[in-house]
Symmetry: C2
Subunit: 237 residues, 2 copies
Amino acid sequence: MGNRLERLLDSVQAATTLEDFQTATEKTRALYRVRHVVYHWVNSEGERFGAGTYPDAWVDRYLAQDYLRMDPVIFGCFQRFTPANWKDLDWSSKPARVMLHDALDHGLGNQGYSVPVRGPNGQFALFTLNHEAEDDVWAGFIARNGRDLMILAHEFNRKALEFELGEAAQTVPSLSPRELAAMRALAMGKSRAQAAADLSISEHTLRVYIESARHKLGALNTTHAVARALSSGLIIV
Amino acid sequence: MGNRLERLLDSVQAATTLEDFQTATEKTRALYRVRHVVYHWVNSEGERFGAGTYPDAWVDRYLAQDYLRMDPVIFGCFQRFTPANWKDLDWSSKPARVMLHDALDHGLGNQGYSVPVRGPNGQFALFTLNHEAEDDVWAGFIARNGRDLMILAHEFNRKALEFELGEAAQTVPSLSPRELAAMRALAMGKSRAQAAADLSISEHTLRVYIESARHKLGALNTTHAVARALSSGLIIV
DNA sequence: CCACATCCCGCCGGAAATGGGGAGTTCATA
DNA sequence: TATGAACTCCCCATTTCCGGCGGGATGTGG
């Protein structure tokens, strides 16, 4: 298996187009002999970037029904660090069960394993294997391959990030120390007056920092600026 | 090496106290024959949780000098997905060079390799190996062990998360879909009027969501609420 | 040495957000 | 079926923020 995994990793590393990603998911499916393999990058507007072997009908259905907003796989993995066996997630809500039934109707297997991957700026992606199997068989499969799948998931994500960055070179503006301190204070809930007191400067001066930070960040208002500073990793709360 | 790595992973998995983490970093140092090994969880107030083999004098110095705010290792790794060889980071700023010199004076090696690890709710940690070596020797070391180190880093972080959650069960408040949508709109720079228009509701209604979200998040104002929603991973920008 | 960035301070008018209050509907789950 | 949570709408007075304008002092890097 080791050698085949290496070859698979090489093929991921060589990916430069969406089709290559598609091919890589298919190779993964072939290697692990599962029903489906999917890598997708999740953000607030839905899927930003993805490739996988799910039937088109299911993908369309998923997006059309806005399942993204209720999918326990997405939601559950978003809250945890370790990969998740689908059976361990919370399917108690009604829409979730409806979705699951719908998924099975579209040819998905009853078992799944999703590896959450996180990148800078709150980037979040899932690498998922789906299969039809008994619970204990699937648990054994995960136990054997979990570690390799994590490596694979990270490799997919690394290439996806490169891919995206290639599209639109993200220029993270550099803020001055005072500007950063101002953003940090605001992110911690301080009012301008409090923040100014914290930095031992006049409120007017603080405003200058906030404004210049806003301009550098291309933000529309203070809240936007703080949000951008946070999600671009300039400040940590 | 495989067997020794497994034993090391077991010892990480068995960790329940800070001392256990400390021991695990020492075992890692012994296994890889490097000068220092550190795992630390980074947030805005500095180190939240950490264990490692750095001399106490250096840790104190680091905190006292507020090096956290300028450390290219922290900053660089926070911006990237892949682990970083210290030599590849940006040491151009003067304070960064001063810090590096200071570090060498405190017994650190000239080479380093830091694996960024990200968890839910914007959690961020670094797993670092430090050593004294020639550039090419170090590059070879990384090439051989990079994958194992990633696994190890994730294992450290998994236990650290369990540890923290045990200490104070982090209650991430659950926002309603509308509240989330409101936070999302604000985080994207929308004014209240625009956000209300986006959600096709009156501005007054939008305000109710913002306020209830603020209360749930324990935030002092709207900006704070958005910051918390972002850094707790409730919304993605 | 000069330029550029950073750091600090001030004023203004208009626009937006805040923090209270109350009141009705729908929907899911218990 | 009832309880609670979510969703929707409205008013008012006060505070805060916004986006310009102006100025000067102090550094570091080329």
